[in-house]
Amino acid sequence: MDYVFLIAGSLVILTCFYFIVSPFFTAGDEHAAGVMQDEEKLSLDQVYGAVNELEMDFLMKKITAEDFEKLKEQYQLLAAELLKNETKAQKAGGSKKLADDAEAEILRELRKLRKQKG
């Protein structure tokens, strides 16, 4: 019986040893840690979420109509700028027509997002 426990104990040690040692024989030596990001980027979804919440606050009569319109406009500008930057990055070096296309796409995307999120 003692042998069984001895073997089991050895197996526990060997398993742990395997978990610890195996990376030295399998993994590449590149730095496993990911790339440090300098800043968290604002996403269009987040801006839209903010507009949505703002609209709810307005409909629930927590903010005034003036503040609502003003803030909404600011958020929309922010969303437009985000989309514009995104499109610019994608079509770097593009013509004016491309920029106009981007504007049109922004409006379409905004409309689509608004519809989707209700």
């Binding site: 426990f5 526990v12 610890i20 990376p23 840690a33 606050d57 409909l59 927590k62 985000l82 209700g118």
Partner: protein, 660 residues
């Protein structure tokens, strides 16, 4: 068994040390292999702690009395469920449970989808340092696999008070809460070490923190329920030092869960949030120190060892380490943090809520530690007891309830005081109406009426928030009420989950206030056939019998119960005499309806025809357990959905970043 158990514990120490070294080398040499090997160490820790835990369960379940721990906390006749729950009945098993949970949590974090995050080596090191501590204490002081010199024929058995379903859930849920807090703490410190002043660590650990808070809530509620059923004094919370120890981190984590929203949305309160999570983590160690050291008198029977010293040393080390990290990064945090812009705003209301919660934590801490403080300065141990806590905590918690009624009405941005006052009208009317109705119904006790009215106001606010939200959604989408309600809550799970939790707190508040203010008690000796009257109940003592149950002698009183003159059945309070325990245990008999509990204790008896019963009528106690369930549902709802909060503070500052 002895061999494998001890191999597992000593391997735990060796692997934790190795993991720390491997992480250090990996970070220093930027070596993926070393970091991967450290991850292997985490996996090994989860493996060895699982092995030792299953082994302990096995030797407990099979009554292997050659092991000291098994012989100390179980015996042959103990039901299997309690043999297994004896795992956490003593110090050694509790430490192993802690090490096991921590190792599993560490593995879950390290092998999550964030495994390549630069913070991860630091996070895993901090968590492994904790695991190392627990394995070391087990090896040096409380080894669950220690053998007896002479194998006893039977064990000592489990304390009868621990033979309750509460024993299955209460300690485990509390430990899961305690251990869970190590994760956001580790991320917070890792972020500071890397000088990452954004709110990424908060977003990554939101679910961990919420889960830990959920378990702390569950642990406290189940603990109260257990005390109510088992201790036989008619209450559920006695401000016992060990109860306070689990309430303290609950308060600070509650504050943290609110203030992180401000950091996520408005880039404020960074130092505050870090301090709160450090404090919460330290309080979990402090709680364990209180339970294990026995420096304060408590109904919890663990405090008879020198384990407290180990916890004190480790707590001091972690505190100094955290303080050092915060102080060296303080200017950086400050530089990157935004100040509060307006006094009347959501963020200032949240800050106020935080201050009240922290004040509550301080008041509880002070009352808990006062016996030690008084002994240090005067040489006499003075216990402040429940009157202090009731007096100090009642106004603080009342303030909190009022604030819970106010906060949801304030808009996240551009809060306008006129709009706010207008929105507050209906909830306020509800609060006032409650006060008038209670007065008109002849209810006495001004403080209780104020408390109940404030609760009604808070409840009204939340109902109105739901109603307004549904109305607003319907206006925008033309959906029917049910669909609008469903979509509203599902699309804002974090917010409405929080509101459900608040409603749960309102329900608990009704239970706590009413049972404190309006419970009645009668202690009377009765001969066979005689009755007691209490409130609208009449109890008639019929007989006293002795019987055997699960090998234990049980004395049962047979009592007929009448409510408003109508027979509503029988109630049978008991005293159980355990062979292995000198004191009999009290088994309370309770009849519950929606508004009150009839609580009967068999206090003593002279002979078969003469007993003394303690009878209490506790109003609305069942609301406390119901409120607890609502809180758990709300937290689970918030946990299930919702990514980070929408950011909105940057609109005037350009679009570079969010939530830093």
């Amino acid at each position: 068994m002895y061999l494998i158990g001890n191999i597992a514990i000593y391997l735990g120490i060796a692997i934790s040390i190795y993991g720390l070294i491997a992480n250090a080398l990996g970070i220093k040499q930027k070596s993926g292999k070393w970091l991967e090997s450290a991850r292997g160490a985490v996996l090994s820790l989860a493996f060895v702690s699982s092995i030792s835990s299953f082994l302990l369960l096995y030797i407990l379940g099979t009554s292997q009395f050659q092991f000291k721990y098994v012989a100390s906390y179980t015996n042959e006749s103990l039901p299997l469920a309690y043999k297994l729950t004896a795992f956490w009945a003593g110090n050694a098993g509790s430490l192993l449970l802690w090490a096991f949970l921590l190792s599993i949590y560490t593995a879950m974090v390290v092998f999550s989808k964030e495994q390549k995050n630069p913070m991860m080596p630091y996070v895993s090191s901090i968590l492994m340092l904790n695991v190392l501590f627990f394995f070391t204490v087990m090896a040096l002081n409380a080894n669950p696999f220690e053998m007896t010199d002479k194998i006893p024929a039977d064990g000592k058995g489990l304390n009868p008070m621990l033979q309750n379903p509460g024993m299955i859930l209460h300690p485990v849920t509390l430990y899961m809460g305690y251990v869970g807090l190590a994760v956001p703490f580790a991320f917070g410190i890792a972020a500071l070490i890397l000088k990452r002043m954004d709110s990424e660590w908060i977003k990554l650990t939101r679910r961990w923190t919420l889960l830990a808070w959920l378990f702390l809530t569950l642990g406290n509620i189940i603990g109260g329920w257990w005390a109510y059923l088992e201790l036989g004094w008619g209450g559920y919370w006695a401000w016992d030092p060990v109860e306070n120890a689990s309430f303290l981190p609950w308060l600070t984590v509650s504050a943290f869960l609110h203030s992180v929203m401000i950091q996520e949305r408005k880039n404020m309160l960074k130092t505050w949030n870090l301090s709160l999570i450090i404090l919460s983590y330290i309080l979990t160690l402090f709680g364990t120190f209180l339970v294990r050291s026995g420096i304060l008198t408590s109904v919890h029977a663990f405090g008879d060892s020198n384990l407290g010293t180990y916890f004190l040393v480790f707590m001091a080390f972690m505190m100094l380490f955290s303080l050092y990290i915060v102080m060296t990064r303080y200017t950086l945090i400050k530089k990157d943090s935004s100040p509060i812009e307006a006094y009347f705003s959501k963020e200032s209301s949240f800050l106020l809520n935080n201050l009240i919660l922290v004040a509550a934590a301080f008041a509880v801490f002070w009352g808990t530690m006062y016996p030690l403080i008084s002994e240090t300065f005067t040489g006499t141990k003075v216990n402040v007891g429940a009157p202090y806590f009731d007096k100090v905590m009642a106004p603080i918690l009342l303030g909190l309830i009022v604030l819970m009624g106010i906060c949801p009405l304030i808009a996240w941005q551009k809060a306008v005081i006129e709009k706010f006052l207008k929105n507050m009208l209906w909830p306020l009317a509800m609060g006032v109406a409650t006060a008038i109705i209670l007065f008109a119904a002849g209810v006495k006790g001004i403080y209780a009426i104020v408390g109940l009215s404030a609760t009604s106001f808070m409840f009204g606010t939340h109902v109105l928030e739901f109603a307004r939200g549904i109305g607003a959604r319907r206006k925008a989408t033309k959906e029917n009420v049910l669909k609008a309600a469903f979509k509203l809550t599902v699309k804002n799970q974090r917010r409405y989950g929080g509101y459900i939790v608040h409603i749960g707190i309102a329900v608990i508040a009704v239970g706590v206030i009413s049972s404190h203010a309006y419970s009645s008690e009668v202690l009377k000796t009765l001969n066979t056939g005689e009755s007691i009257k209490i409130g609208e109940y009449a109890l008639q003592f019929n007989s006293l019998t002795e019987q055997m149950k699960n090998g234990n002698g049980v004395v049962v009183a047979d009592v007929a119960v009448f409510y408003k003159g109508k027979d509503i059945g029988k109630i049978k309070p008991e005293k159980i005499f355990y062979e292995t325990w000198p004191e009999p245990s009290t088994e309370v008999a309770i009849k519950t309806n929606w508004s009150q509990d009839l609580y009967v204790v068999l206090s003593s008896w002279e002979n078969k025809d003469k007993v003394t019963l303690m009878v209490k009528v506790n109003p609305f106690v069942s609301w406390i357990w119901t409120g607890g369930i609502i809180m758990v549902i709300g937290t689970a709802f918030a946990l299930a959905g919702g990514g980070p909060a929408s950011s909105r503070y940057q609109i005037n500052k350009g679009l570079k970043t969010v939530g830093r």
